[in-house]
Symmetry: C2
Subunit: 287 residues, 2 copies
């Protein structure tokens, strides 16, 4: 029976570390602060926002929410973004995406300051992901996966990681982060042939497809590590991962649960990024 | 015995297509033009430059070379880059890299206009590679590989492509381009364990590691397609690929030679990109 590797101890440790660093910054007169820019009132945005605000408070990071109505014009949104980017007291900016359809993300993303872009919206940070340049900010969910792997001492060098899913939110950036840790990386998706056989090669199998319980034990090599990034809900509104946990737990050597796995680490990664943004801005003021 | 798939017919067809499109542009009063910015006199830069100039002439594309001494200051190089980026008569800019060590590419790359950045130096274009956004410019070599695969009717959907090498010049961007054609992609590198077995899974095996004749028949599945991106030279200065051609040709169903393979397609891809840049600038003047 595999070890259940939960997100909470990971989040707790990161929170503790960030909190200590924030205290040091405060003693030096620096007060890290996150701005959350939300368009509309999507329930999942609101849920994440509550979690993020709680986490920032635990870390001693200030937060300010900018709420715009869901019929906001693109120019007005950009003005807000420029205003927040220019604010000296704000170090990090999180914008909930996807934005409503009338707003062109491909235009808007150019107006966030890359130095404050703690959730990897700006092309400057997206480019750094491909380049393996760690001075940028990777998106929260792939970063959370990496933190879990690190916390549980899973050495990735030379390991074969199979990533199920090729989204810009998880699959593609995560593949680049794994590659940066010297893993061999295979990226699978809906068009992959012989999917089970490829997944069964994985030392580390990461599911990020958004299909409830798609991955059962027939995808898993004996002793593999299984990371479930899926967040699906059943008819009763319960959270369900992409992995059929009960089916896989005997074969896997380690497995993350849903809920209580990757999702519980994302807000602490966000806090970590705000801290980093504040530290960098204090080294390079004016940036 | 596998089919030898050469680059020349691919380059010839692209050249012919670009030439026809350039003629149409000229009839509409538009004259596509490439600027080549070269620092120093590296022999391989000069060789590529000659090839590029010949290709542009065949395509009816003007070209202008800006030569800077290899002790040019960073600020002076940036001034040149800004000047060229601003020139209305220039549509595409190629800068030879790597630049001499005293020049910070990570700073300089922000000063090339993304719309003229035909060899993917700007972070805006690097980001588009990861995003799969085809409005940008991918680097010449990975694009040349994709053109060869297209020309020889190699359908990538669902195929397992194994890329040997994770450089920013070939391996990483190529992996993203293959993914964009719905291939399943595995990225291998020097730290990969069990390399031969992974390579033997490949329907399409692409070698871009820079180690002469590293890939022999023991890496190749019967019937696989083998693409050799390597450019190494032996003691007598002969070009040698990463693939041991003689060893692999019987097992492969198709194989590119070196020289005469991928390398012969890069300048025609460059011409294609200059054409695209000119067409886009005519649709969106002022960009």
């Amino acid at each position: 029976m595999g070890e259940i590797i939960r997100g909470k101890p990971v989040a707790d440790r990161i929170t503790e570390e960030v909190k200590l660093s924030v205290e040091k910054l405060k003693n030096a007169g620096l007060f890290p602060k996150l701005a959350i820019l939300r368009v509309g009132n999507d329930p999942s945005d609101l849920a994440y926002e509550r979690g993020a605000l709680t986490r920032m408070e635990k870390c001693g990071i200030e937060a300010e929410v900018f709420e715009l109505s869901d019929d906001v014009s693109e120019d007005s949104l950009i003005s807000h973004l420029e205003y927040i980017s220019d604010r000296q007291d704000i170090n990090g900016i999180l914008i909930f995406r996807p934005l409503p359809g009338h707003l062109d993300e491909n235009r808007i993303k150019h107006f966030i300051s890359p130095e404050k872009d703690v959730d990897c919206f700006s092309p400057a940070n997206v480019a750094k992901i491909l380049e393996g340049d760690k001075t940028g900010f990777s998106p929260a969910t792939p970063s959370a996966v990496m933190e879990i792997l690190k916390f549980y001492h899973i050495d990735l060098q030379g390991k074969h990681c199979v990533v199920l899913g090729r989204s810009m939110v998880v699959g593609k950036p995560l593949s680049m982060l794994l590659l940066g840790q010297h893993a061999t990386v295979t990226i699978c998706h809906s068009k992959t042939k012989d999917l089970k056989n490829i997944c069964r090669m994985a030392d580390v199998l990461i599911a990020a497809v958004g299909r409830a319980k798609m991955v059962d034990e027939s995808f898993v090599k004996e002793g593999a590590i299984v990371i479930d990034v899926g967040i699906n809900s059943d008819d009763e509104g319960n959270l369900i991962g992409d992995v059929d946990f009960e089916s896989c737990i005997d074969k896997a050597s380690m497995i993350t649960p849903v809920p209580g796995g990757v999702g519980s680490v994302t807000t602490s990664v966000l806090a970590q990024h705000v801290l980093k943004a504040c530290e960098v801005s204090s080294f390079f003021p004016g940036h």
